[in-house]
């Protein structure tokens, strides 16, 4: 099982390292998204108060949707998803492998996105790097856990590009609330770590519930 997961992650990352298609496009999209916010919201050199947390998470959600769509589009174009599902391994392993691949791609994007938001919106995001990392990574896992399942299911659907965000955004409302609130709590002049801990705990329980639910439904949803 673990070996199968590792093989799938390695396959995805090898394809990605060779083409760099998703990493570059997602990153560029995330950066231009943040710039749009900067043009729209920064007035006379003054960023909106408390805006940085929301902007960071919107950029993560948008670029995450793009990365999810592309990852499975690549499988579809080369007809490899069927091969993946035919492989003599448990379906949950396929799901977890895909999930890990997407999370690592998004973390890579966030490594550049976070300093950029911090810089453009004059937000002290990097004062508590470990807590910020905890909030961002647990939120990213939750977002990708739902996203991977839906993107995989949508591979065969018509108008999948439109349907992915349509499905994903209502479902990930709690991730967005907890992620934005947790990040905003870190931006306060007097950081109350108790509040941050609460949001991280909520995000982690969300991750657990949604990964469990996805593992449970991946099999019936991907069979037809």
């Amino acid at each position: 099982m673990l070996h199968a997961i590792w093989l799938i992650v390695r396959k995805d990352l090898t394809v990605e390292v060779r083409s760099r298609e998703i990493a570059y496009t997602t990153l560029f999209f995330a950066v231009s998204c943040v710039l749009q916010f900067a043009f729209a919201l920064v007035k006379e050199g003054k960023p909106p108060e408390d805006g940085a947390a929301g902007i960071l998470w919107i950029a993560i959600a948008f670029s995450g949707t793009l990365a999810l769509g592309r990852t499975f589009e690549r499988e579809r174009q080369s007809e490899t998803l069927r091969a993946l599902l035919l492989a003599p391994t448990a379906r949950p392993a396929v799901y977890l492998g895909k999930l890990l691949g997407i999370v690592s791609l998004l973390v890579l994007t966030e490594l550049i996105l976070t300093p950029l938001v911090s810089f453009l919106f004059q937000a002290p995001l990097l004062v508590h790097p470990i807590w910020l990392f905890a909030v961002v990574i647990s939120g990213t896992i939750g977002f990708s856990a739902v996203g991977t399942l839906f993107a995989a299911m949508l591979v065969r659907a018509r108008s999948r590009d439109v349907l992915l965000p349509v499905l994903l955004y209502p479902i990930t409302v709690p991730v967005m609330i907890a992620g934005v609130r947790g990040t905003a709590a870190l931006l306060q002049p007097e950081v109350d770590l108790g509040i941050v801990r609460f949001w991280v705990a909520l995000l982690l329980s969300f991750d657990v519930v949604f990964i469990t639910l996805a593992l449970w439904t991946f099999e019936p949803l991907m069979t037809d």
Binding site: F150, L163, P174, I177, L202, L213, T217
Partner: protein
């Protein structure tokens, strides 16, 4: 359609015609005045909204793990009713809130959770409509995730703030106001059952026509 359908539909229609008269005859609430009367439609439609969402979730889970096509039709019908009663709830709510809270919308637990549930139901219908083949399972999965979401929205926003009146307000109403409320509640419940029945019937007929069509081709 079952025999009781037409009489029940007539009764339901009469109740809805009578309900404004009934509501108008009830005393005015002391602080809110006329605006409070929105409540007689808001609360029943909100309960139907919730009921439809629960039916949709349960039927989807049963469809996904049992596979009887009937469950899928129930889920579809319930999703449409979720959207319909959701619109009524989400329109009447802000009309009341403008007067009661001085704002059209606040990010309260119930408001956020309702909006999210409504969005999931709309997404469900979009998938059914535009997803193409295989979208039935996709939609069932969506309904399942939507249902699992509710506690999280609840916790996350509860931690934040809450001002929506609690359900405990209902037994404390004066008798005439309570009567009007229950009258409207029964009218909405009847409407809900009729619409659900009709919608499932329509889907069953459609499935039957499809299967007849296929057997004719063979």
């Amino acid at each position: 359609m079952p025999k009781w359908f037409t009489p029940a539909a007539i009764v339901c229609g009469l109740m809805f015609v009578a309900s404004p008269v009934f509501i108008a005859s009830v005393r005015y609430e002391s602080t809110m005045g006329l605006v409070q009367k929105i409540f007689y439609y808001h609360m029943p439609s909100a309960v139907m909204f919730l009921l439809a969402a629960v039916i949709c979730g349960v039927a989807s889970a049963r469809y996904l793990f049992g596979g009887a096509p009937h469950q899928d039709r129930v889920a579809w019908a319930a999703a449409e009713l979720t959207v319909l009663f959701g619109i009524i709830t989400l329109v009447t709510g802000p009309l009341w809130a403008r007067k009661a809270w001085g704002q059209w919308w606040v990010w309260d637990v119930r408001l956020t959770a309702s909006l999210m549930g409504w969005l999931v139901a709309v997404a469900y219908l979009l998938v059914r409509r535009y997803g193409g083949p295989g979208s039935d399972k996709l939609a069932a999965g969506l309904a399942l995730f939507g249902a699992a979401n509710v506690p999280f929205v609840y916790i996350s926003v509860n931690y934040w703030r809450t001002i929506h009146p609690a359900t405990s307000v209902v037994p404390t109403l004066p008798v005439d106001m309570g009567m009007a409320l229950w009258f409207c509640f029964v009218a909405f419940l009847l409407l809900f059952v009729l619409l659900l029945k009709m919608r499932i019937y329509l889907e069953e007929e459609r499935a039957r026509v499809d299967s007849l069509y296929l057997s004719l081709e063979d």
